[in-house]
Symmetry: D2
Subunit: 100 residues, 4 copies
């Protein structure tokens, strides 16, 4: 069931497969760095389409080439499968764009 | 000169003409609320074009229909004319979209 | 069933409720005019999210403030309920933006 | 001078350095193919920022993962340096995204 809250131990175990991501304040957190605003916003536009199609939306902050993301499933009161799915999709979309 | 730092008294005076905006931690701050992510991101896309054309980029946070903005001119070490110009353009673009 | 092809007579009847749209070369066609590229692209970004979430994508052309749209359901070989749904959503999103 | 019309011979010579582009009906033309709409629209969002900052806008058509572009400088009545500059920027932004 996608919206089942995943426990802390399981989250940490799965984060081993997601370099760059950490569990921060109960949310999946990552910072992406792009060369400039043009690249960062192109990435955000692609992610926005994916998020709307999933009906699962990130908390995200941007300034210039930096995009900071926090993923959590509010309805479930924690991190769920949806958050991991969106994290993987974001990494795919950042590949070849993100500076680090 | 667009990049001259504007002093605190002058900022507060000019904020009288910008309802919704406040001086917060040395930056022009506003929160926009839209009906949903679709409206919020359409607004962000328009603003992104304006910001890139100005070569002056917001610090902004989004989750679902909420967009929180902080404007400051890092090179000038404070709020400048550029920040007020971008604030007015953002309000124009939000008009008719933003719920409040 | 969303993907059932709607016949010509029924399409014309329903277009009475969609001012600005016409049946052109077997597709629902409309031209939107916005004040500038900034407004046109903000509209397109909102529509892009909706289209991806519907998994139903427009054929569209843009130059500056003009957006021309053709809607058809390729799998069904004609206009279906999906096209009317997307047309109505696009009109909603253009409202307050489009010059005409 | 950026807005000087470039003659036909010179355009053809310079197109040797722009694989994928051709002179079609007096405009620089290229078709990009992306894996899906998500990638195509992310590319379009990046290009939109660049175009607005240049105050030079493409004529472009999109359906799903396909983006067809025509570049011309209307004020000059032909192809100018601006069109070549935008073509190169688009190729840069498509790199690593476009399937072909």
């Amino acid at each position: 069931m996608p919206s089942r809250k995943i426990d802390h131990t399981e989250i940490e175990r799965r984060l081993n497969d997601l370099p760059g991501w950490a569990l921060t304040a109960g949310k999946l957190h990552r910072e992406y760095r792009f060369a400039d605003f043009v690249s960062a916003f192109g990435f955000m536009a692609s992610v926005a389409l994916v998020a709307e199609a999933m009906n699962h939306h990130p908390e995200w902050f941007n300034v210039y080439g930096t995009v900071r993301v926090d993923l959590v499933t509010h309805d479930a009161g924690g991190v769920t499968e949806l958050d991991f799915t969106l994290a993987v999709r974001m990494d795919d979309l950042a590949r070849g764009h993100a500076v680090r």
